[in-house]
Amino acid sequence: MIPPSFEYLRPNTIPEAIAMLHQHGDAAKILSGGQSLIPMMKLRLARPAILIDINRISGLSHIKEESGYLKIGGLTREAELETSALVRSKYPILADTTHVIADPQVRNLATVGGNLAHGDPANDHPATMLALGAQVVANGPKGERVVPIEDFFLSLFTTALKPDEILTEIRVPIPPARSGGAYLKLERKVGDFATAAVAVQLTVDEQGACRNIGIALTNVGATPVKAKKAEDFLRGKKLDDAAIAQAAQLAADEAEPSADLRGPVEYKQGLVKELAKRALLQARERAGK
């Protein structure tokens, strides 16, 4: 399959890239890892007249803790996240997530920023970042603005990014002591999108009561779903098995899956319930360490 013809631009700096976006508006798309965009172009689901390749811009690829946040550059490859010692030791939910995204070759190119900016509810980072309470840094002609991840996903394939903005960084609040997280996904085979997946990030106090909680769901709605009722239910409660089972049911009730080749609605709701239970149990265990 040959993608439609396009003009190729390769800026060396962020301001240069923003100027190009500003000039070309909707006709232009950013080429980051390209692992979603290029397949869509081959299928003619996307036909940008201009591609702005940001891969040569320096300063967009990093994983570092700074000023209370884990900062992930928009151009950071999934493979870099997967092999980061910092991520593996301190952010198990991110390690879980990146490990089940596509396959090794795709992860070598695919970027964390692209996974979010694509706005696909089947992608894996959106739920994880919702659970983590992350912030997205968008750079545009008027400078930088910070968008809470809860305000980022507007509708299917549509995010809060304006046509002349670039997602330059993701900021994850550094979790306090006694925090744990997990991302559990059921996929039919390596490389497939999730039939459903659940992200959980929580913090417990010294008595084992739930202080902070984030629960979010992948591929069971037009946008990534934040399971607010389940979160509200658990906040302040002791995280015993009964409370977890009840929260898992609430999360399943908040899912709005469609029947497709991955299964019927009831199956996916049941799946969310089970995955939510297991993710909560695993997060609780990790918080205890």
């Binding site: 040959i2 993608p3 013809s5 003009e7 190729y8 390209g34 390749d53 070759q105 795709v106 070598n108």
Partner: protein, 162 residues
């Protein structure tokens, strides 16, 4: 047609340069422009991994990258594994352990395995299975492919070259 742009790459140690349309995929550049047909087009949807090549040390699916993106890069394709007429230990492993039947997936398998061994010279069976999880084989059931990669890792550990 969009304006052609210059691509300069080093492929298997040889510098190549030409004007290409931006939409030309890396796999078509390699096969049709450079004439290196060892790299295969399988599914053309970044599922099967038959088109896997190594770009600047990383395995990528060359059906899901534009040739223009590889400008300035070092490419390694299956043709580059042979050195001085001698098979790479991975190629030898696939031969010795019957790691292929029809052979269609083999170039991609070799390049994924090559990238894996560059990062992890003593992979466990699980590491190998994970390393080739982006490559599909419809003949072997993977058992002998895993053995072939283990063969190469052992050979490289005991003084094999490359």
């Amino acid at each position: 047609m969009a304006k052609k742009q210059n691509v300069r790459v080093t492929v298997n140690g040889v510098q190549r340069e030409m004007e290409v349309e931006p939409r030309l995929l890396l796999v078509h550049f390699i096969r049709e422009k450079l004439g290196l047909t060892g790299t295969h087009v399988g599914c053309d949807t970044s599922n099967c991994g038959a088109c896997t090549v190594v770009v600047d040390g990383k395995s990528v699916k060359s059906c899901t990258m534009f040739a223009i993106q590889a400008d300035g890069s070092q490419l390694l394709t299956v043709e580059g594994l042979l050195k001085d007429g001698k098979l790479h230990p991975l190629q030898e492993g696939f031969k010795q352990e019957h790691g292929l039947q029809c052979g269609f997936c083999t170039p991609g398998m070799l390049m994924s395995a090559y990238a894996l061994l560059q990062k992890n010279s003593q992979p466990s069976e699980q590491d190998i299975r994970w390393g080739i999880s982006g490559n599909l084989c419809r003949c072997t059931g993977y058992q002998n492919i895993v053995k072939a990669v283990q063969y190469a890792a052992d050979k490289l550990a005991h003084g094999g070259t490359q």
